[in-house]
């Protein structure tokens, strides 16, 4: 696992450096807030209401699709890694698996999920 120690160290050091630059900026930058400046930007006019609203369901559906297909893509990774040693069985099984995936995509397509409007 020691190869992943680098990942952890990079995470800590990266976060540390970013926070350090924020701190550095905080020390040297001016700060002169006023109520108008701290208003939410909406092209120079007072905003209408809040932006925390129930948003278009389309995006949620795409997120669901992503979860389905990306998990399946991740399933394919170990398979691809040992593809050569598995022989013909691997190829046939992949054809079946991908056919199922394509059917899934086609189903979603026909359901109108891929339509934006």
């Amino acid at each position: 696992m020691s190869e992943f120690a680098a990942v952890a160290v990079f995470l800590l050091v990266g976060t540390g450096i970013v926070l350090f630059t924020f701190l550095l900026a905080k020390i040297i930058r001016p700060s002169a807030p006023n109520p108008v400046k701290l208003e939410t930007y909406e092209c120079g006019e007072t905003p209408y209401g809040t932006a925390e609203l129930q948003y278009n369901v389309r995006f949620y559906i795409y997120a669901l699709l992503f979860v389905i297909f990306d998990v399946e893509a991740i399933f394919l990774f170990p398979w691809a890694l040992v593809y050569r040693s598995l022989g013909l069985f691997a190829f046939v099984e992949m054809v079946i698996f991908i056919t199922i995936l394509v059917f899934g995509l086609f189903y979603a397509w026909r359901k109108g999920v891929l339509k934006w409007f």
Binding site: V13, G14, T21, A25, Y41, T50, L114, K115
Partner: protein
């Protein structure tokens, strides 16, 4: 001769000697080593980004019949440093309506996710921080973290333009993630490894580049990677003529700089992955040990960064429904087809073990 590994090893053994003399245990020395490397890597990435920003301005200037930055340094080469210093001094305007923790951590997440990719990027012969056994998967996983940062920025800003931008980027990045990972599968089926270091050493001359065996896979990857970087023609999340500045609308000063930095780091990452998986990475095209490896790596990567810039300054932007339709209706079926073809190709021409 010009390989950097030797120099780094020399410095490292000096530091190890020093620390071991102080009686520090081996595992701590290793951690200190990684920390030092991380700081150096941050410097390398920062220098690369500073160069890329300047270069992008010069490339765009050339394409648009202008000069670009000319005043600060030779042909404005240190203009970006001046800009960075300016951004450091800028007032940080955080509107009242924001959700502070989300708003604050968004740039951190975005940048750190972009930076962490460099754990396993082979810059040259022996120049890899940690050749992870799951390198390709790691890169795919980590680059996707960027979208969490962008979504946080969009939601935390409590601004409708930011919200639109954040949602757009989330939908876009997750949609293109699927064809991207499927396109890389082809290379993995051929190489039978996820380690980037090994994939590079397998392509030790021009003819062994995987792009020749994966042309479709490369095309799908490259289009999807452009979309992952949020670059024109896929720059919808920050489409300035529609959403003012998208998810960065409410950011200023150093926080804005972090998003900006992350964008360029991602651009470089996309080129790095393209070069490493499809164009032989740091291997010279004329067989091993022909010229310094890190120069081959940088040269190839810069070419692909240039292609990204070329896209940006030539194409108009897609619309959001066209963008999604293209990912799901064109790229995804093509990516499936690519896997089938690759499997068939390996079976027919290479034989299976």
């Amino acid at each position: 001769m010009l390989e950097l590994r030797g120099i780094i090893d020399a410095i490292w053994s000096f530091i190890v000697g020093l620390l071991a003399g102080l009686g520090i245990p081996q595992w701590a020395i290793e951690l200190v080593g990684y920390a030092l490397i991380a700081v150096v890597m941050f410097g390398v990435v920062a220098v690369i980004v500073l160069f890329l920003v300047w270069w992008e301005r010069k490339v765009s200037a050339k394409m648009q019949d202008r000069l670009g930055p000319m005043r600060v340094g030779w042909h404005g080469i240190i203009q970006t440093i001046a800009d960075a210093i300016k951004l450091l001094q800028k007032e940080d305007i955080t509107p009242k309506a924001i959700d502070f923790p989300i708003h604050f951590w968004a740039p951190v997440v975005t940048f750190v996710a972009a930076f962490m990719v460099y754990v396993t990027v082979p810059f040259g012969k022996g120049l890899i921080v940690s050749d992870l056994s799951v390198g390709v998967l790691y890169i795919i996983a980590i680059t996707t973290f960027t979208v969490i940062g962008l979504l946080m920025a969009g939601w935390g800003s409590n601004n409708k333009y930011s919200l639109l931008g954040g949602f757009r980027s989330a939908a876009q990045v997750v949609s293109y993630e699927v064809p991207l990972s499927l396109a890389l599968l082809g290379v993995i089926m051929i190489s039978q490894t996820l380690s980037l270091g090994t994939i590079v050493t397998q392509q030790d001359n021009l003819l062994k580049w995987y792009v020749w065996r994966q042309p479709l896979g490369f095309l799908i990857f490259w289009i999807a990677a452009t979309a992952e970087c949020n670059r024109t023609p896929f720059d919808l999340p920050e489409a300035d003529s529609e959403l003012v500045a998208g998810f960065v609308t409410e950011y200023s000063g150093m926080k804005f700089a972090m998003f900006f930095l992350a964008e360029f780091v991602n651009m470089f990452t996309a080129s790095v992955v393209a070069v490493t998986l499809f164009f032989g990475g740091w291997m010279s095209p004329f067989g091993p040990d022909f010229g310094p490896s890190w120069m081959w790596f940088l040269g190839k990567t810069m070419f692909f960064v240039f292609v990204l810039m070329w896209f940006r300054w030539t194409y108009p932007r897609l619309r959001v429904d066209q963008l999604m339709g293209f990912a799901w209706k064109v790229l995804l079926p093509l990516a499936f087809l690519n896997i089938l073809l690759t499997g068939l190709g390996i079976y027919l021409f290479d034989g299976l073990k």
